[in-house]
Symmetry: C2
Subunit: 194 residues, 2 copies
DNA sequence: CGAAAATTTGACATGACTCAACTGGAGTGG
DNA sequence: CCACTCCAGTTGAGTCATGTCAAATTTTCG
């Protein structure tokens, strides 16, 4: 069955595994889709009408600021979710862009299907509640670091926290995630190597 | 009944109002409590074991960075929630402080009571899912501004978005929320008045 | 192998911070 | 209800962390 990774992920957050009808509800609504490296899942200005679970591959979520400079907000790899939640739920044009950084496979659900899950099966309200809570906790931690930490401290925190992303994502993209220029990140690293 | 404000707030996010037994579940678990101005709801290092709904008053959530400087993460007024979600759910010591900025009244629920609501009544998974999603959306917007906007743009954005907080919260606290020093905020404002 | 992309380097620029002094209310106690 | 303190806000001078720009170098990959 092609939805196993997702079903397993959902079950991890429940007291008892989903019942057959709930698994079926998932299988009926999530569509497998492939993205090639550099392909966009979502572009700023478009309406985001889907939520996306990463089965395999790697994505980045980024925004462009008023000067056109890009800022990476989030990376997602296997078992992660990528979505502009604001756009998905408020049905407003997206501020964000989502781009595949590798050839990738995902499972996607339409807004309508997602609402059917929420309304038909309480278990999905629980799962997505926990998911949103964790996303919020992570986003706050990120904000705390961006407000109070120096560029150097943010970089050290990143390599301690996400060592598995270091070989997978370019320095320039990591610099953007950390809120600094690639030049500055390079200079930071030079100092450590001494 | 003393829980009306909360019940009304919850109902706003549901298709149909709560049933009597659900209202009772709320009334049985949320305790009214008063805080005096400057009183702490939570101090960094403590375990946060409660979620707090603001009936009346005003609070700030802040962290201290490695240099001891404070950073305001969030303000909450009537119908807002304040909590260190990371500490509440992961049962880890809190990184955050929560302080009353005015004499205030709140409704508080213990972690245990909250879990009873989740497990006993699906409706609360829906309500707190939506709440967490909105908190995450707001947190991401805040991060986007802090990464890509100048201090001036962040200030202008704040007064456009939260005009009702301007007379209620001191400039120094707003400056900290916006990620700048009070001196710098003062200089920004001087330029506008010309 | 060669072109394009990623990373590094250095010189210079600047937005925002620090520190210290000053000003004007707002509480508080006598 | 005055005097005193204290906190919030303002100002200015000097500094620093990080950014900008442009060029050199290395790596990637078709």
């Amino acid at each position: 069955m092609t939805h196993q990774a997702l079903i397993k992920h959902i079950n991890q957050f429940l007291f008892q595994p989903m019942r057959a009808e709930e698994e079926k509800a998932v299988a009926d609504r999530f569509i497998r889709k492939a993205y090639r490296k550099r392909q966009y899942v979502l572009q700023a200005g478009d309406l985001s009408s889907r939520n996306t679970f990463v089965v395999e591959g790697c994505f980045r979520v980024f925004v462009a600021d008023p000067n056109g400079k890009e800022h990476n907000l989030q990376f997602a790899v296997e078992n992660g979710w990528i979505v502009d939640m604001g756009s998905l739920y408020k049905e407003e044009p997206s501020e964000m862009n989502i781009e595949a950084l590798e050839d990738s496979t995902v499972l996607q659900i339409e807004r309508k299907g997602l609402y059917e899950l929420y309304d038909g099966f309480p278990v999905f309200n629980r799962y997505f509640r926990i998911l949103a809570e964790n996303a919020y906790i992570a986003s706050q931690k990120r904000l705390i670091r961006s407000l109070g930490f120096t560029a150097e401290a943010r970089y050290l925190d990143f390599i301690a926290r996400y060592p598995h992303l270091l070989n997978r994502i370019s320095d320039a993209k990591i610099a953007s995630f950390l809120g600094m220029t690639p030049e500055f990140l390079s200079k930071l690293r030079r100092n450590f190597n001494k």
